[in-house]
Structure formats: C-alpha cells, structure tokens
Amino acid sequence: MSRAAAQAARRVAERAIEEGLVDVSYATVDSPFGNLLAASTDQGLVRLAFPEESVDTVLERLAARLSPRIMEAPTAPQPLLRELDEYFAGRRHEFELELDWSLIGPFGRKVLTVTSEIPYGGVLSYSEVAAEAGSPRGSRAAGNALGSNPIPIVIPCHRVLRTGGSLGGYGGGLDRKRFLLELEGALTPRLGAGR
C-alpha cells in the first residue's frame, strides 16, 4: 500500500514540475564528494549542498527564503550533470550553466562576483577579494560571504586562500578545498596548505 502511495507521490512531483507549479526543484548529483543536493529555480542553479548537510534543513531554508513549493525532480538538470562530470574529470575549466543568485545578499554578490572571475588554476587572497569587492579592510566580511556561498564548486570560493597561501576555511571542509585546488593545478598534490 505504501509503495503504491510512493509511486503516486512521484507522479505528483513529475506532473507538478511539468505543469510549472514548482518554484524550486531538487535532485541529487553524484560527485567525488558523494551525493550533492542540487536545487534549481526557473533562473538556474540556486543551491548546491554537500552530502553531510541535512536535506530537510537545506529544503526548509529554501522554503523560508524562496518558496515552499519545492519538489524532488526525477533527475538534476542535464547541463548541471554534464558540466559537473566534465569538471571533476578535469575537462571543464569554466561553468556555463545558469545560476540563480537570489540566496546571495548584496555584499555577498560583490564578493562572489569577484570570486567567480578567478580563473581555473588561479587563487586570490581574502584581502584581495575584499579589496576588489570594494571593501579593502573587510577580509573577514569577505570570508563570511565566501563561507555562506550557496553554490560552492560552481562559484569557486575554494580559490580564495589566506595571504601567504594557507588554505583558510571552507564550508565543505578543508580536504575538499585541497582536492579542488589540486584538481585545478593550483596546489601541488601532497604539499597541502603550507607551501
């Protein structure tokens, strides 16, 4: 009985998405870090969450910030799947998929815009990012904005390091930051943080 109900519920989700009744749809995406949760709106990808983040909490915050009309899609959008695959295979240096910046506040927008322009393989320091975002003394504020990046990996906040080259922080954990920087060739494998 509950299997029939589960199937009926999946059909509801598919139909609701088809009919445009859903404001935020989400699906999991396989990655070297495990299953990421990807949430999208009409505008594009709005949230990418690491596996250890509670799905319910991520969805509840999206409901509060954007809309409660959130449903699970059968799969993530094709451009996202393709571009992430290519990126993790080292074959893609720039993401072209559409992003929805609506979870990002005005200062975060400046900081993450600067961040999204750091080229593959490059890095900037927190203070450089803060200066370019128009807040030369605000490297801590810039760090906070980077830490609350709702679309990590795609908006490459992992490319921002401490002055002097130590890794600083990362919402997904420093191992992942190191992994991404090594993948991009910005960091020599095994030398780690203190090069």
């Binding site: 109900a5 989700a13 859903v22 509060a64 409660p68």
Partner: protein, 158 residues
Amino acid sequence: MSDSLPPFQLFLDSERDVVWRFLVASVGRSEADDCFQETFISALRAYPRLRVDSNLRAWVLTIAHRKALDAHRGRARRALPVAEPAAVEHATIEPHEHDGELWDAVGELPERQRSAVMLRFMADLPHREIAAAIGCSEDAARRSLHEGLAKLRKAVLA
C-alpha cells in the same frame, strides 16, 4: 520551521500514506490514483497562500474528501451499477488492505459518515478537525462518526 511552511515535498512525503488510505477507502483502488493526483496538485496550487500554523493533515484531507465526492458524483453520472453490500466477517473497525469486504462496508456508508469514520481512525483527527474537513458543525461530525461506526458494527457482526 515555525515561521514558514514545510517544503511541499516533505509535506507530501509525510501525508501521502494517510491520503492514499483515505482515498482507497473512499473511492476504491482504481480511482484512488486519479484522486490522489488531483488532491496534491490542488494542494500545491493553494500551498503558498496557506497560513503557516495550519493543520496540514486536516487541510489535505479536506481536499481529498472533496476530490472523493467529485469522483462519486462522476460515477453516479455514469450510472454504474452499485454492488450489493458484501457479507463482512472481520470484526475489526480499522480496515487493512486485504479486508476487502470491510472496505466495501466502509464504502457503503453515506459520504459524510464514511469521511468522519476514516478521518477519525485513519488520520486520527479530533472531532473539531473532522468537522472542519467535511464542512459541518462539531456536533454533526460527532453524530456522523457515531452513526457510521454503528452501521459498520452492525455490518461486521451481521
């Protein structure tokens, strides 16, 4: 949580089994799926306008109740023959899926009594919320519940 509605998917996941059982009992297995779709699609359309402190289960069962009535009306219009009430051997009041005969007995109840019985025993709603769901006074809901239960008791003990 308290200052916004839950994400619709989580609401659907937590209420789907109750709504499904309610609809299978109300309209039968073959029409339950359509009613289920209609119920949750209607719910999704109205969802953003819902008050944050609403009783979501009572709300969605109200919608399911209405969809079941629509299905009954549609069936009446098509003038399908109604089966004779079957003899019921089980003496339990909470039907399981394999208790086809008891489902039939539930299905034979007048609409309001059937909804009252199911909302009480499947959705565990108090009289006040049963009344809200089927659109009547609390006293009327209480009466419908008791009359419905009396008929079922009579049917299963007959």
